[in-house]
Amino acid sequence: MTADTIASLYVFVLAGFIGFEVIRRVSPLLHTPLMSLTNALDAIAVVGAIVIAGQQRSTLGTVLGTLAIVASMSNAVGGFLITDRMLRMFKKGEPRKP
């Protein structure tokens, strides 16, 4: 294993712990927005797809990379959009009278 791999493993383990601590505090009230938000963040896979699609080393790479950008991009756009829509609905206090 190279030093780079070890560093990656460190990042993985530490990020896992941070995730555990941060997400444990999310109120059950917001578990649905939590899932849609983490889903949107996961779409960061697009950075890998961009490089693969853009470096054009082989046709297969370009095609797969481009499809991967489409899939992740739609997750990012849709995920942030619906999370914000949901969160806007959570209101405190007395609701307005009909």
Partner: protein, 459 residues
């Protein structure tokens, strides 16, 4: 932009992602969390475009546009459709990861270290099974596929063998990366496994399954981070993976079941014939009776379940909340962790109906309140209110944490019929002396109560 500068931007993006989830912990800061996530994403994507390995941009921008065109409608679905939308987005995420993994394999092999190959095969296996598994889950939730569990003899043997084949081939590839003819096996077999894994799982287990698939999607993205040596991806994948894992644990605990039991148990398809053979009498009441009881109550806790969502009754429930609140009744809602088809689903539906979130109690908050509550009104929930979970050692749901509605002074249950719930268990709650059954469609019945309450006694 130099490579170092790009990496620095990635670090900022990773910090923003963590802050994003940190701010999601409370409704007051949650929207800031979304903004932080969006800014992080924009920065990271923007910086990536300066990567010097990129030689052509036309496909990239075309793909951006296409992704946005698909993404916007997926962001605008009805709130009742959020569970299937979420399953679909897990499928999309896993699809992207699988494609990138496949491209990486054919670009990099055979010059690849065993560790990288391990990460790559895990990425592809997890990605592929999450892709089809999530599609199946979305199909079940959208009801284009049957919701009931589909089981056959030797199912678990078949499933485990499939997984075994994929793992064995992956292990061979780690040490013989030149054997590229074997690579399609670790895509195709997990694709089949994903389907087989989800077909025996019933509708009410969906909260756990969606959480678990969420966790797999995150893990596969983290593995992709290892392969591409992208720390940002590792961070995002680890966050998503731990989020899915925590939610799965919460869901399993709320059903008093283990992961293996959810995945291999196919709960709900065996209808246990219970010892309760004696005729028991349930008292039923009309909307008028219900209205007069609610009217004279000073505190009411409403317990919504999936039945409320199916009947689209949340807006009627809101009217009931309004009319009772105007009369000075303290109305609150008690929400079981597995109510609905995904974690937190009920809260979103009630928030959409404009019910303030400080009136929504989770199980730990609600249970101490029931003994001081005049009326517990159960709308479309069943197993999560069954006192047998507490009292009856022989019950299949014994030990499951429940909402203790039977401790309220009066219990009213809106239900179509006395039919048993998901677990196939008769609910003792319905036969208590303090319980009134209100038979009918949730939406129509709540509407009728609201009419009774506003009629004559005009508010």
């Amino acid at each position: 932009m130099t490579e170092q500068l790009i990496q620095l931007v990635y670090i900022v993006a990773a910090a923003l992602f963590i802050l994003s989830l940190r701010w999601l912990s409370a409704p007051s800061t949650a929207r800031r969390g979304v903004l932080a996530g969006e800014v992080g994403m924009l920065l990271a994507v923007g910086a990536t475009l300066f990567n010097h390995q990129i030689v052509a941009y036309h496909w990239i921008f075309l793909a951006f546009a296409l992704g946005a065109v698909i993404g916007v409608p997926l962001g605008l679905v009805q709130m009742t459709a959020v569970p299937q939308r979420t399953a679909l987005s897990h499928a999309f995420g896993a699809f992207a990861v699988t494609l990138v993994g496949t491209a990486e394999f054919y670009l990099d092999t055979p010059d690849i270290s065993p560790f990288m190959m391990l990460a790559l095969t895990m990425e592809v296996i997890l990605g592929a099974l999450t892709f089809t598994g999530s599609l199946m889950a979305a199909g079940k939730l959208q009801e284009v596929l049957p919701q009931r569990p589909i089981t056959y003899k030797g199912q678990n043997v078949v499933n485990l063998s499939l997984l075994g084949v994929a793992v064995a081939v992956a292990a061979y590839l780690i040490f013989h990366p030149a054997a590229s003819y074997l690579f399609p096996v670790i895509i195709l077999v997990p694709l089949v496994f994903g389907v087989m894994m989800v077909i025996p799982i019933g509708g009410a287990d969906m909260p756990t399954v969606i959480s678990l698939l969420n966790s797999y999607a995150g893990l596969s993205a983290a593995m992709m981070g290892f392969v591409l040596d992208s720390k940002l991806l590792i961070v995002a994948g680890a966050l998503d993976g731990s989020s899915g894992f925590i939610l799965s644990v919460i869901m399993c605990r709320a059903m008093n079941r283990s992961f293996t039991n959810v995945l291999f148990g196919a709960f709900g398809q065996v209808q246990p014939s219970l010892a309760h053979t004696e005729e028991r009498i349930a008292r039923s009441a009309s909307a008028e009776d219900a209205a007069s009881i609610l009217e004279s109550a000073s505190s009411v806790i409403i317990v919504p379940g999936y039945g409320m969502a199916v009947a689209q009754a949340q807006h009627r429930v809101r009217e009931l909340y309004d009319v009772l609140t105007r009369r000075g009744v303290n109305v609150r809602f008690a929400i079981h962790p597995v109510a609905g088809r995904m974690p937190g689903h009920m809260n979103v539906l009630l928030a959409e109906a404009d019910i303030p979130y400080d009136k929504l109690l989770d199980m730990e908050e609600a249970n101490p309140e029931f003994p001081q509550t005049d009326v517990a009104l159960v709308i479309g929930a069943n197993d999560v209110t069954n006192p047998a979970a507490r009292n009856d050692r022989n019950s299949p749901i014994y030990g499951m944490p429940i909402l203790e509605v039977d401790k309220a002074r009066t219990v009213m249950v809106i239900k179509r019929s006395l039919s048993p719930g998901f677990a196939g268990v008769d609910n003792d709650l319905y036969y208590l002396d303090k319980t009134l059954m209100l038979f009918g469609d949730a939406k129509a019945f709540v509407g009728a109560i609201v009419r009774e309450l506003s009629h004559g006694h005009s508010a």
